[in-house]
Amino acid sequence: MRKLMYGTAAALALAVAEGASPAAAQAGTEASAGQGTPTPGLTARFNGRYRFFVGFVDESPDTAFDAGTGAKEQGANGFDMIDYARLFPGFDGVAANGLRYGASLEIRMRSGGEPPGDGRSGLFYRRAWGYLGTPNLGQIRVGSGPTGAVETMHVGHIAGFGSGGWDGDAPSFLIGANTANAFWYASSGRNNYTKIGYYSPQFFGFDLGVSYGPNDGEFGGDGACSFANFAGAAPQNCDRVDQSIDSRALVRAQDIFEAMLRYRGTFGPLGVAISGGYVGSGRVDNLSPTVGAVQAQGLSVGLGGATVSWAGFTVGGIISGGRANLGSQGFTGNDATATSLAGFSAGSLTPRFDVPGGDNTNLFTWSLGATYTAGPYVFGGHYFNQDSAGHQAANTGKRESEGIALGITWNMAPGLALFLEYLWGEVKEANVDLVSGAAGSGANNKVDAQIVSLGFSFQW
């Protein structure tokens, strides 16, 4: 913008012409952001979000039977109502010398497990982070949450419709393992560890971020990390464990490194954003002397995404793949061997094992989505597809999951929206009971779910 103001009228006309072309994106980028120095001071924020849903749920399985007699013991209602709230207190500050800084918290309702009539049992911190930086040097982000490069900078993940589709709140209707974990880069299982990241200024439309976290835990380590646990009772609860004979500890990542490069620009009526990056980590070493003990492999995953926006349309996609699994293996024994792998819990990006003669499928995921905005209405949808090793007992084959979400949002007033959303998802893996997590079973090798929900969203 300053270039538009400098010099004579003739020079101004030339500068404006230069600033308008995509080839002079640097000038255009500077101008479009308005690089004046904000007034020193502090601004406090107390934003929040509350959602209420009415949902019709059809999932399989939704019944439980007595293992011995086969008699039906549990059934599920196909109609439910849920609600969920988040609070976002924080502040932003500018020092007289231009230093920019601030901090944010995300506080959520503790959900699930409360007996009828007891109401909510409390709140919990989902994320807590801070930042400081300067216009010329970029910024450092520290803490848990949007401080890792992948979560903070990825593009192509379309969830701005309904409650967010498979990345929204509607999956909370589902029972247990029927939940497909659609988007590992936006999930709590991969972004909650405490870390530090550096984020550059934007040059010619490009900016980059790199981050590092030594251990896979947050808030000073896991809350259940007593010495009794560390010494053998439950070492998986201690994020600083990096050597163990206990297989339950072997799925933690160590030395987690993330890097992302992003480009954003406009070309005539098109807005374009592209990102590419990498997640790598070390592992917890298996100290077991047992013959056949296997080692987990550190994470090594690349991802790329893009978004194109034109008029009211936005189309985006994201793809990722590499050495990783989705979900912790839930070991029950002290030794991780090729035959002792047992149990499964749906989760996010975790180290994969190399099991001799077993299933060592690398992770491959992709998703596509689109939204269209017409006045107060937003129409949107996305599809995701995932292949992963899943349960790594010998020869169970890969785990496959996919899902689709469609939604309509009516922005009735600032901060008030009504939305209608449809979700369908499926997870399958041969020879694995996806409800109990046990290998070698022909039961529940496929679980699926459909949800139709109508809800209100309040934001302040």
Binding site: M1, R2, M5, G7, A9, A13, V16, A20, G28, A31, S32, A33, G34, Q35, G36, P38, T39, G41, T43, A44, R45, F46, N47, R49, F88, D92, E106, L137, G145, P146, H154, H157, A159, G160, G164, D167, G168, D169, Y199, S200, P201, Q202, F203, D207, L208, V210, D242, D255, F257, G271, A273, G282, T307, A311, T314, G375, A413, P414, G415, W460
Partner: protein, 187 residues
């Protein structure tokens, strides 16, 4: 005697730290030419919850007299015009002093601004946001220019390209903000 550092941990840490330092060094070496990336340009759930909020884009109140937020002039309250164009306009013109910013009528009026390099001329900009939709014709800019002549400010013509180019800059920023908003994670 404490245990020796775990050799694999030391080996794993060194490449990551080295890359991190190298990147930081490269960026610092090339510093001074870039644009500071605002918090709203990251996938930040705290910021994404603010878009379209009852209280406008940011903030409940400011203390110590100032605000980091270029939108603070709009105050707390609902917007009557497209929020992306509103925010894009304020971001684009943030280095100019504002006289008024009406989020209901969609009008932003700057005060006269003299670039430090050319103190003998000054500019004033008026931005009109024409509706609730993010459209290429949804913003209209008027630019006024004066030059100093014997102690008096005299109106002079402005290049016909200046206002349309400012409109393009505002639209580009608005699109950037909207791209970020479509990536809101629901969880």
């Amino acid at each position: 005697m404490p245990d020796a550092p775990h050799p694999t941990r030391a080996f794993r840490s060194a490449p990551a730290c080295g890359v991190l330092l190298l990147v930081c060094g490269l960026v610092v070496a090339g510093c001074g030419q870039g644009r500071y990336v605002e918090q709203s340009e990251y996938n930040d759930p705290a910021r994404s919850s603010q878009r379209g909020s009852l209280l406008g884009n940011e903030g409940v109140f400011s203390i110590f007299g100032g605000s980091t937020n270029r939108n603070a002039e709009q105050g707390a309250g609902a917007l009557g015009v497209n929020a992306f164009l509103w925010r894009g306009s304020l971001d684009t013109l943030s280095f100019m002093p504002l006289v008024s910013a009406d989020p209901f009528g969609g009008v932003i009026i700057t005060d006269w601004y003299s670039p430090p390099e050319t103190p003998g001329e000054r500019f004033k900009v008026t931005v009109y946001i024409l509706g609730r939709q993010l459209r290429s014709d949804g913003v209209r800019v008027s630019v006024f220019r004066q030059v100093e002549n014997r102690g008096q400010w005299v109106d002079v013509p402005v290049s016909q390209d200046m206002a349309p180019q400012l409109e393009d800059k505002i639209l580009a920023r608005a699109r950037d903000l909207r791209i970020q908003s479509t990536q809101t994670a629901g969880r």
